[in-house]
């Protein structure tokens, strides 16, 4: 058995946040490749049917989560499922995700309706944060996404998210109404889901 496996498992069990391989290596006093090997072993061990939890790579870190087939069962214990975002909040999140940093007025313009309530929900849940102020009249607040956004969407990094440029390129390249930010979806293609995280 990989001696690092139980150590890694204990650390992930004790953590409420995803932990990167580098951090796990520091904590275990081991090198990163060895920790990655232990993570692969842990993933295999937890993938067996007799286990109710699985290893998940999300927002650049690892964490232990319950298997999706037990979602309803766990929801009974918790009293409810984690709340989903309303359509308005999800639309607002998508705009912030793809156009950040963005002001509320810009979000409103894109959506055609006020986003005050939706933005409030996202701020409250930590999925969006204030990242500064635009140096224009009134110095409006600029909003951006957080690491929690990726966790809420259950993705490893932004490269897993849909690429609006690719969606629009069906009609040939042209100026996008939705700007694709640096490092956002579509900036680096060819990402392998099996590739280790960079965290």
């Amino acid at each position: 058995m990989n001696p690092l496996l139980p150590m890694v498992e204990a650390l992930l069990f004790a953590s409420e946040e995803p932990v990167g391989a580098r951090r796990l290596a520091e904590l275990c006093g081991a090198d990163e490749p060895a920790v990655r090997e232990a993570l692969r072993a842990l993933e295999r061990a937890r993938a067996r049917p007799e286990s109710g939890i699985q290893l998940e790579l999300v927002a650049g870190g690892y964490r232990l989560v319950t298997k999706p087939e037990f979602a309803e069962l766990v929801a009974k214990l918790k009293g409810s499922r984690p709340p989903a975002l309303s359509p308005a909040a999800l639309e607002t999140l998508a705009i912030v995700l793809y156009r950040q940093p963005v002001t509320r007025a810009e979000i409103d313009e894109l959506r055609g309706v006020s986003s005050e309530s939706a933005l409030g929900t996202l701020l409250e849940r930590g999925l969006v944060r204030e990242v500064g102020r635009r140096k224009t009249a009134g110095r409006p607040v600029l909003y951006g996404t957080t690491k929690k956004t990726l966790v809420a969407l259950g993705v490893r990094d932004v490269r897993e998210l849909p690429d609006p440029g690719a969606l629009l390129s069906r009609e040939g390249p042209r100026q996008l109404y939705f700007r694709v930010p640096e490092g956002a979806p579509g900036q680096r293609r060819g990402h392998s889901p099996a590739a280790p995280p960079e965290a």
């Binding site: 999706p68 984690p82 989903a84 109404y177």
Partner: protein, 244 residues
Amino acid sequence: MGREGEEASRLLEEIALVEARLEKGERVPVGPIARAARDAFGRPEADLEAASLALVRVARALERAARLDLPEAPPADGEAGPEGGDGDEDGEGPSPDAWAERLQELEAFQEVVQALRAFEREARRRFPRGQGPTRPPVGASLPELLPDELVRAFEGVWRRAAGRRATVARDPVTVPERMAEILRLLDGRPAAFERLFRDDASRREVIVTFLALLELVRAGRVAVVQERPLGPITVVPRSRPDVR
């Protein structure tokens, strides 16, 4: 796909046909698709996302059709003609090309939103450690308070704040902000009613806080319970009923 889904899909195809003809400059009546959209999405059980998308597209088609009926203004000296720019700057609205592009981008954006929805839905099926409180369902052992009992509790806080004098100035605290603050304060765990009110809270702050609490109760975000008559009141966070 159910009957409603097929109907919505067929309607969106019809809207796309009208859009394509309008884009070519044809004068097409938009009324039929507007009525069809009303019939398809005017029911309480209609898919709100599909309805809003259809509504936006029908509205844009109406705008485009209306513009086709307007006489073309001659371009002023030194300004771009009808083909130049996207038309937003002079208040004339988007040019046909810009209009079509934005429409297409709106559709692409809706696809992105749908994809994010799928990601989120799947993520919600996996529970990490420590996510959310583990507690018995609200109401299982603690009876919920009636509004007048809550008002009586408010009156107690109000009386305490009544004697205080403060500088008369616009208090920046708003009900939505206070609602968010209350949820942050609760942080997924029950808290005593009194905790929501700072000891040195102004009368206005007490009012705003109470209104925020009522709004949260109305929205189903919190429940207010009391273990026994005249006992301490507890505010218990709940999952949002308006979300899936």
